[in-house]
Assembly symmetry: C2
DNA sequence: TGATCGAATGTTTACGTAAACATATGGAAG
DNA sequence: CTTCCATATGTTTACGTAAACATTCGATCA
């Protein structure tokens, strides 16, 4: 910076002003500085800048990895939204769902230079309330409403209701459910809403099978369900598990949707191309991400925000994997 | 840090020594400092530290987003490998494949505090050689061999050969190919190897159809292929496109694998649960990521490395989507 | 005309850390 | 007992930037 200042014949402070697009710099001076910068290939030093301003223009992102496509979509969308806002994203994937791992990730991120932290798909931890170090703004996605941080999420309750209703309306006596892992809030809310919707409709509530979001776990659950003759409709808590259920049913000789209807949750782009195309609940990951980043930046610039929860409406996408049950068909 | 030093009754330099685990600190002093740190909730300031050391313990990662599952797997694996090495990952997703976008991403990252940059699935850019700012170590994945940066990649040539051979060996007269985007090196190498393998075997080489890695583009290609009666075997350049091809074939009334065999590339976990389960080429994303990070850290610590390319061997996974052609079946 | 103000630019300083150098202390070697 | 050296600790400084404050200069207004 000193070199640039010398070459342009100004003080380093003027260079700083040009770099930061401040006013009160004569156009001609600005041009002179800019060309000096170009000539010397000058790049501002983020560390020094952050040291002075206390701002890094970077967001920390803690997730449980990208193996779950829903998570991957969220991470992707958050990254892009952050970029549009001029922030980079510092990502940490934690392996286990323990509070210790989350805290270690937090430590690493706050040590790393971030202005705020986005926590994706927070799990239900052992301790009643996850205590995070103060001072760093936090926004959660798919977390627990009772936490003291703002949260943005798809309206899981509404989504699960839509898909369960859809299956009941087709004439199925009841709907089986393959849930996500027991320590996932998103999974819990979907399961609770499925349960409530069945009760409301006066339908029997079958036992829940738990998966871990993976197609493999859906397949295992599907094998169990395929053995039970009365199963005519299955709602899997995400599209990957729905895929596994479908496979297990087909292997067992059950046709979809003639013998059994299957629905998922997420609406991955691929779900429209499965055989048969999957009925599912579309989450608007981009809108969720936009809101997360907006809330984050609010907090960074204007201080702590109330721990409100913003819900983004999902949409039922009916495709060919759901149909009336055999009893209602000619 | 000064507060910690005062509380512990030592100089700030001694605190620094404790924080950095340096030797030459008496055990008793160390404990005193550590407890002072705990008491005050002291966290080292990364910006100040980086300003002095010039190191950030952070890697930049440029990719084209996580919509392509292969990319998502790579990003996930790189993140985890980097974490194990004590580095965080600063991610940038670029929208378009222009050189300008790549350079903008580079600028943002070098301005952001990173010690090195990993470039995933570099595309073929307009200019003969992508000129990156000097001074920052770079490792490429899925890039162009001719670049002057070290590269790690799955052996695309070998993978495409394996799958093409497999189809020919089953008795298919030739194999159609749905390639990835024309500006992708990985897609190009897979296509070239498919072409070479057909020629070697004396088989006719049908025209290539291009997709963009998405299931939708595979579906479009599949519709075209389904109209051609002679098509008995299709090799799609990734599993997502293979999924789309499968869907188009099934819609057209072609059975898989009885009428037409379909194979993919990547071996996503889901591919084993498609109907029918997909024959594909398994990429070892974890090994690729390990090597990328190792090369990166070598460069950071020991200076520029030769622009070698390391290939990781793929593996053919035969499942039920491929079979002998109708002509060879009873 | 002189006072006043605002725009453009310069000077000084602080940010929090680790490197480089300086000093003190105690024990081993002669 | 002195010398020397290793170990433990303290002091000074530099890293590159932006904030705070200071200065200069020309224009505006009473």
């Amino acid at each position: 910076m000193a070199d640039v200042a010398a070459l342009a014949g100004v003080s380093s402070q003027t260079v700083s002003r040009v770099v930061n697009n401040r006013s009160n710099v004569e156009e001609e001076t600005r041009q002179r500085v800019l060309s000096a910068m170009r000539m010397l290939g000058y790049r501002p030093n983020t560390a020094a800048r952050a040291l002075v301003t206390g701002q890094f223009r970077a967001l920390g992102l803690i997730s449980f990895g990208l193996a779950s496509f829903g998570n991957a979509r969220t991470v992707d969308a958050v990254t892009r939204a952050a970029q549009r806002a001029g922030y980079t994203v510092n990502m940490i994937a934690i392996e286990s769902q323990t509070e210790r791992a989350v805290h270690a990730a937090f430590d690493q991120l706050t040590m790393q230079a971030v202005d705020g932290i986005v926590l994706i798909e927070a799990q239900i931890l052992d301790t009643p309330a996850l205590r995070l170090p103060p001072g760093v703004p936090v926004v959660m996605a798919d977390g627990d409403v009772s936490h003291r941080h703002p949260m943005v999420d798809t309206d899981q309750t509404q989504g699960a209701r839509l898909v369960t209703r859809h299956l009941l309306d087709l004439g199925h006596e009841t709907v089986w459910h393959v849930a996500g892992p027991e320590d996932s809030y998103a999974a819990k809310r979907r399961a609770e809403s499925w349960h409530a919707t069945l009760k409301e409709a006066g339908a029997a509530v079958p036992g829940v099978l738990f998966g871990d979001w993976s197609a493999a776990s859906g397949y295992e659950a599907g094998r169990v369900l395929a053995r039970r003759p009365g199963v005519t409709a299955v709602f899997a808590a995400n599209d990957q598990m729905a895929l596994g259920v479908m496979r297990a049913m087909i292997e067992a000789g059950r046709r979809i949707p003639e013998d059994v209807s299957i629905a998922g949750f997420d609406d991955l782009e691929e779900s429209a191309y499965l055989s048969p195309p999957l009925t599912t609940v579309r989450q608007d990951f981009d809108v969720v991400a936009e809101r997360i980043v907006a809330l984050m930046i609010d907090q960074i610039e204007a201080g702590p925000a109330p721990a409100d929860t913003a819900y983004v409406a999902p949409e039922l996408i009916v495709r060919q994997s759901t149909a009336p049950p055999p009893s209602r068909r000619p």
